[in-house]
């Protein structure tokens, strides 16, 4: 079998030491380039995920305050209405105001739990900047 004329079939014949060195140099260059491209891709994907999670985080953040306030208002309104109806001013108002606050806190805790679940599922709990934790 005649030897191939070009040196593109390195497995088919013995390479001279210089050829071998040049070939390995090319491989390691290619490897480095590949690593660089992969790292860039990963950084891009990370940045995308980060931005998405930050958007969702902001969406959740905007929910929390309204969640708390609305429940307090509803509780207070129910109490006020019952007071007017039963003539027990101000006791039911006070009671329902506090209950409303409890309901608000409950709503916020629920929203937070849901957010935690979603974020852990999506990004392994990573949100925004990663800050080293000291505990």
């Amino acid at each position: 079998m005649p030897e191939p004329a070009d040196n593109r079939g390195p497995g088919q014949r013995q390479m001279s030491p210089e050829e071998k060195a040049a070939f390995e140099g090319r491989i390691s260059d290619l490897g480095q380039l590949l690593d660089k491209v992969k790292a860039e891709r990963k950084a891009d994907a990370d940045a995308d995920l980060d931005a998405e999670m930050r958007g969702r985080g902001m969406a959740y953040g905007m929910r929390m305050a309204a969640e708390l306030v609305a429940a307090v208002i509803v509780g207070g309104a129910i109490g006020y209405g019952l007071d007017r109806w039963l003539g027990t001013t101000p006791w039911l108002f006070l009671l329902f105001f506090v209950l409303g606050f409890a309901a608000g806190v409950l709503n916020v805790v629920r929203a937070y739990e849901k957010m935690q679940k979603e974020f852990t599922a999506r990004a392994g709990g990573r949100v925004g900047h990663r800050v080293p934790d000291d505990d």
Binding site: A59, M62, R63
Partner: protein, 247 residues
């Protein structure tokens, strides 16, 4: 100073009276109509070709469809897909209305609590009707969490009921307050630019609030989208409660 509230004033374009009720066609109605016509027009035109390889416009409507579908499916499962038309309509209407409001001089429909309360009311009553229709009295289990000791159960149930009744309020107030506050802030900073320009030597400072107004505009575009997203996400969550109470 230009009045920052002026932009929210409602005035009749075509005054209509029905049995003494004011049912005029107002600037708010006009922008609702524009939002609906734009949306319907866009989807009709973009889905005209219905090709397997989508055109650019078709991709946009497909992305919108998939976005809302995924949101609904993630929170309610396959059973919730029946309510896709409602959820999609809400999302697109709020999104387009918010975005129309970003055009200078345009009226922001969602900056009035009447509008957002009506939208939240639709969701609230849909949840009630669907919940009772699907589960009957088992829907009430939503208010009675399992695993609670009997002596605090009445208290917890009361709290759950208040928390349920608070939903339409937080649902509507959030959207309305965000749009209102954002537009007022924008107007105030815009007003600062004009006032500084008219204040002799201080005119040199005018670019500062202008920069702020530009940055705020970008933020407002984000908020316009986020609020539509939040409203829709909550709609999905509430629907999930109606379909699977006691989870």
């Amino acid at each position: 100073m230009p009045d920052p509230i002026h932009q929210f004033e409602i005035h009749a374009i075509v005054p209509i009276k029905i049995f003494g009720w004011d049912a005029s066609f107002t600037n708010s109605s006009l922008f609702m109509l524009v939002a609906v016509v734009l949306t319907a027009g866009f989807f009709i035109v973009s889905m005209q070709s219905r090709s397997l390889v989508p055109t650019r416009l078709q991709s946009i409507s497909e992305v919108a469809y998939e976005f809302v579908r995924n949101m609904l499916r993630e929170s309610t499962g396959e059973a919730g897909m029946k309510y896709f038309p409602l959820v999609f309509t809400l999302f697109i209407f709020i999104f387009v209305a918010n975005m129309l409001g970003m055009i200078p001089g345009a009226f922001t429909v969602t900056s009035h609590i009447v509008v957002t309360a009506a939208l939240a009311g639709i969701v609230f009553f849909t949840v009630l009707v669907v919940g009772f229709a699907k589960n009957g009295l088992r829907f009430l289990k939503l208010f009675v969490p399992s695993g609670v000791p009997i002596y605090v159960l009445p208290l917890v149930t009361l709290i759950e009921i208040i928390s349920f009744l608070a939903r339409p309020i937080s649902h509507s107030v959030r959207l309305f307050a965000n749009m209102l506050a954002g537009h007022i802030t924008l107007k105030v900073f815009g007003g600062f630019v004009v006032m500084l320009l008219g204040a002799g030597g201080f005119a040199a400072l005018a670019p500062l609030p202008l920069l702020m107004a530009v940055a705020l505009t970008a933020l407002e575009v984000l908020v316009a989208f986020l609020q539509a997203y939040v409203f829709t996400m909550l709609t999905c969550m509430y629907l999930n409660d109606a379909l699977h109470p006691g989870h």
